[in-house]
C-alpha cells in the first residue's frame, strides 16, 4: 500500500471516528446525569442531518444548520419531558426498552417525513471534487470541517462543564445527585438539559458529516451501536477518552476494508464491541475497580 492510499484510509478513519466520538460523548452526557443509556442517541444525528437538509431548501446553509440543531435540541428536551421525567426510579430494563421504543418512533416519523431516500447537505466549502493539498496528499475540505467542528464541540464542552454555572451544576449531578439536590441544584432540569445538549451536539455532528456519509431515516441505529462501542472503549462516562477511542475505532474500521469485504465493515466494529464487553467492560482507559462499584 502506497503512502497516498494509507493516508486516505487514515483520513477516512478519522472522519468517521470523530463522529463516533461525538455520539459517544452524547451517550456520556446523559449517562452521567441520569445513569441511562439512551438508545435513541444515533437518532439525534440522523435528525440533525435530515432537518438541515430540508431547511436548506429554503434558507442558507449556516442558518439551516443552526435551526436544525435547535429543533433537534427541542426534540431532545421533549423526549425527556414526555417519556423520562415523571418515571419514578425506573428499572434499567424498563429504561432500555423505552429508549429503544423512542428510537423506533423517531425513525418511523423520519421515514414518513423524508421517505427512504438518502440525503446529503452540500459541501460547506467547495464541492465533491475540490480538495486541499496537505503535505503532498489531497483531502476534501469537508473532512477538515468534520474534524474542526468535532474539535470545537469537544473543547467547547470541556469549557462549558468547567466554567459555566449550568455546566458545573450538571457535573454536580453526575457526582452525587442527592448532594446536588440538597445544594439547590434542580436535578430534573439538569436531566432535561443533558438531553438537549446531547441532542444538540449529535445534530451538529450529523449536519457536518452528511455531505460525506449521506444520511437516511435508518442511519441512527448503527451510529448508536458504534457510538456506544466508543463510549465503552473509552470507559463509560469518560469523554476525553471517548475521543481517543473514537479515532481508534474509526481507523480500525477504515483499515478493515483492506482485509475483508466492505460489506462486513459494520460487523467488524460490532465484533470489537463484543470483544471489549467480554474482555474489559471498564474500557481501555477505565479502571476495573471503578467499574465494579457502578451498579447496573
Amino acid at each position: 500500500m502506497g503512502f497516498e492510499l494509507f493516508f486516505q484510509y487514515i483520513v477516512a478513519g478519522v472522519t468517521y471516528g470523530a463522529i463516533y466520538a461525538i455520539v459517544a460523548i452524547g451517550f456520556n452526557i446523559i449517562y452521567n446525569t441520569t445513569g441511562i443509556i439512551n438508545f435513541a442517541q444515533g437518532e439525534f444525528v440522523m435528525l440533525g442531518g435530515m432537518t438541515a437538509f430540508t431547511l436548506n431548501t429554503f434558507m442558507p446553509l449556516p442558518l439551516a444548520i443552526i435551526f436544525a440543531v435547535i429543533i433537534t435540541m427541542i426534540v431532545g428536551a421533549l423526549i425527556e419531558m414526555i417519556f423520562i421525567r415523571w418515571l419514578d426510579n425506573p428499572s434499567v430494563l424498563r429504561m432500555i426498552i423505552i429508549t429503544i421504543g423512542i428510537s423506533i418512533l423517531i425513525r418511523e416519523v423520519a421515514l414518513h417525513v423524508w421517505d427512504e431516500t438518502v440525503r446529503a447537505l452540500p459541501y460547506f466549502t467547495g464541492n465533491e471534487i475540490s480538495s486541499i493539498a496537505i503535505g503532498g496528499v489531497r483531502i476534501s475540505p469537508q473532512v477538515l470541517w468534520v474534524i474542526g467542528v468535532s474539535s470545537v464541540i469537544v473543547v467547547g464542552l470541556h469549557f462549558f462543564f468547567k466554567l459555566t454555572s449550568v455546566g458545573r451544576q450538571m457535573r454536580a449531578c453526575a457526582d452525587n445527585r442527592n448532594a446536588a439536590r440538597l445544594c439547590g441544584v434542580s436535578t430534573r432540569n439538569m436531566v432535561t438539559f443533558s438531553f438537549m445538549l446531547s441532542a444538540g451536539i449529535g445534530a451538529l455532528a450529523g449536519c457536518t458529516v452528511s455531505p460525506i456519509t449521506y444520511v437516511s431515516y435508518n442511519s441512527g441505529t448503527l451510529l448508536a451501536i458504534k457510538g456506544f462501542t466508543v463510549a465503552i472503549l473509552g470507559g463509560l462516562g469518560n469523554s476525553i477518552a471517548a475521543v481517543a477511542a473514537g479515532l481508534i475505532l474509526g481507523i480500525l474500521e477504515s483499515f478493515s476494508i483492506w482485509v475483508m469485504p466492505a460489506a462486513y465493515k459494520d460487523a467488524v466494529s460490532i465484533a470489537i464491541l463484543l470483544l471489549i464487553l467480554f474482555v474489559r467492560p471498564s474500557g481501555l482507559f477505565g479502571s476495573k475497580e471503578r467499574f465494579g462499584l457502578k451498579e447496573f
Binding site: L93, I97, T229, I270
Partner: protein
C-alpha cells in the same frame, strides 16, 4: 396440578381446529396463511418470553437466531452442488442420502441437501453459536447485555446482507418444500394450506407445553429466582451462569426451528427477517404479553403478528410496535395480560358461573 396444564393446552389445540373450521365455513381460508406464519413467530416469542420474562435476560438479537435457522436451511436447500458432483465430499454426502435432486424454477437440475439434513445442521449451528455467544454475553447485565445482544443481531444482519451465498439484499427464494413425514409437508402451496396450518399450530402447542412444564419445574423456579435476586439464587446453590446459558440456548433453538420451518413454508427468506426491527418487535410482544407470562406472550404473538401480516397497521407497521413498546413500559411495565388482570377476569367469569348454579 400438572393435569391443568394439559387441559389448557388441549383447549388451545382445540381452538386451532375451531379456527380452521371457521375459516372453512366463512370462506376465509386465505387467513390460514398468515395464521401459520403467526404461529411460527409465536414460537420465537414464547422462547424469548422464557429468557426475558422468567430468567430476566434481555435479548435484542433474537431475530439473528431466526435468521441463522432460516438462512442456513434455505441456502443448503437451494445452493446447487451439481458442479462439485465429482468431488469426494459431495459423492460421500450423496451416497449416505444427504443430498437430493430436484427441478429448479427454470427446469434446471439442482442437487442440494435434503431438508431434514439442513434442518438438523441449522439447529446444531444455532446451538453452537448460542453457546459461544451466550457464554460471555450473559455475564453482562443491564445496558451492556442489551447492547451486546443488539450487536449480535446487527452482525448477523450485516453478514446476511453482505454475503452472496445468502442472496445479499434479495435474500433467498425458491426454497423447496420440506417433507417432515410422508404426507406431511411444510410448503406454501395452496393445496396443503390447511395441513400446514395444523403443522404450525400443533408445533406451537407442543413448544408451549414444553415451556409450561419447564416453568413449573425445579428449573423454572431456579430461573425465576435468578431473575429476582441472582446473588441469593447463587447462595441457594443455583448455578446461575449455566442456567442462564441453557435457557438462552433453548430460546435460540426455538427461534431457529421457527426460522427453518417458516422459510420452507414461505419458500424463501429476506434480510428483513434478520433486522433489528424484528428483534425489537419480538421484545415488544413479550412485553405486551406480560413479560413473565407465557400465555400472554403466545396470544399476543399470534394476534399482533396476524394483524401485522394482514397489513392492518399499514405503513405504520414498525411504528406500531415502537409505540406499543413505549406505552407498555411507561404505563404498565408488567404487561397487559398480567396474572392479576387475568385472575380478576377469571373470578368474574367463575362468579357468574356459580350464581347460575345457585339459580
Amino acid at each position: 396440578m400438572p393435569d391443568r396444564r394439559f387441559i389448557h393446552i388441549g383447549f388451545f389445540a382445540g381452538a386451532g381446529i375451531i379456527i380452521q373450521l371457521l375459516t372453512y365455513f366463512t370462506g376465509t381460508g386465505y387467513f390460514l396463511t398468515q395464521l401459520t406464519m403467526s404461529s411460527y413467530y409465536a414460537i420465537v416469542i414464547i422462547g424469548l418470553c422464557m429468557l426475558m420474562g422468567y430468567a430476566g435476560q434481555i435479548s435484542i438479537g433474537h431475530a439473528g437466531f431466526f435468521a441463522i435457522g432460516g438462512y442456513l436451511s434455505s441456502a443448503m436447500t437451494t445452493h446447487d452442488l451439481t458442479p462439485f458432483k465429482g468431488s469426494l465430499p459431495v459423492r460421500l454426502l450423496d451416497s449416505i442420502g444427504f443430498l437430493v435432486d430436484r427441478q429448479g424454477l427454470y427446469g434446471e437440475q439442482i442437487l442440494h441437501f435434503q431438508p431434514w439434513v439442513s434442518f438438523i445442521f441449522a439447529v446444531l449451528v444455532t446451538v453452537a453459536i448460542a453457546y459461544l455467544i451466550g457464554g460471555p454475553v450473559l455475564k453482562l447485565k443491564g445496558h451492556y447485555l442489551a447492547m451486546a445482544t443488539l450487536g449480535f443481531g446487527t452482525i448477523i444482519y450485516s453478514i446476511v446482507i453482505g454475503t452472496p451465498v445468502f442472496g445479499e439484499a434479495d435474500g433467498i427464494s425458491d426454497v423447496p418444500a420440506f417433507a417432515l413425514l410422508p404426507g406431511l409437508t411444510v410448503s406454501g402451496k395452496m393445496s396443503v394450506r390447511i395441513e400446514n396450518f395444523y403443522i404450525a399450530w400443533g408445533l406451537m402447542s407442543i413448544c408451549m407445553l414444553l415451556l409450561l412444564n419447564l416453568v413449573n419445574s425445579r428449573v423454572g423456579r431456579a430461573l425465576r429466582s435468578i431473575h429476582s435476586a441472582e446473588d441469593a439464587a447463587n447462595a441457594m446453590g443455583v448455578d446461575t451462569a449455566t442456567y442462564k446459558l441453557r435457557i438462552f440456548v433453548i430460546s435460540a433453538v426455538f427461534a431457529s426451528v421457527a426460522g427453518v420451518l417458516m422459510t420452507h413454508f414461505n419458500g424463501g427468506i429476506g434480510p428483513s427477517e434478520a433486522s433489528i426491527m424484528k428483534s425489537v418487535r419480538y421484545v415488544a410482544i413479550v412485553a405486551v404479553g406480560g413479560m413473565a407470562n407465557l400465555w400472554g406472550a403466545l396470544i399476543m404473538g399470534l394476534v399482533l403478528n396476524f394483524l401485522s401480516l394482514r397489513g392492518y397497521f399499514g405503513s405504520l407497521d414498525d411504528a406500531v410496535f415502537g409505540g406499543i413498546l413505549i406505552v407498555i413500559m411507561l404505563f404498565s411495565p408488567k404487561g397487559l395480560l398480567r396474572k392479576e388482570t387475568l385472575s380478576y377476569m377469571r373470578d368474574i367469569v367463575l362468579q357468574r358461573g356459580s350464581e347460575e348454579d345457585n339459580a
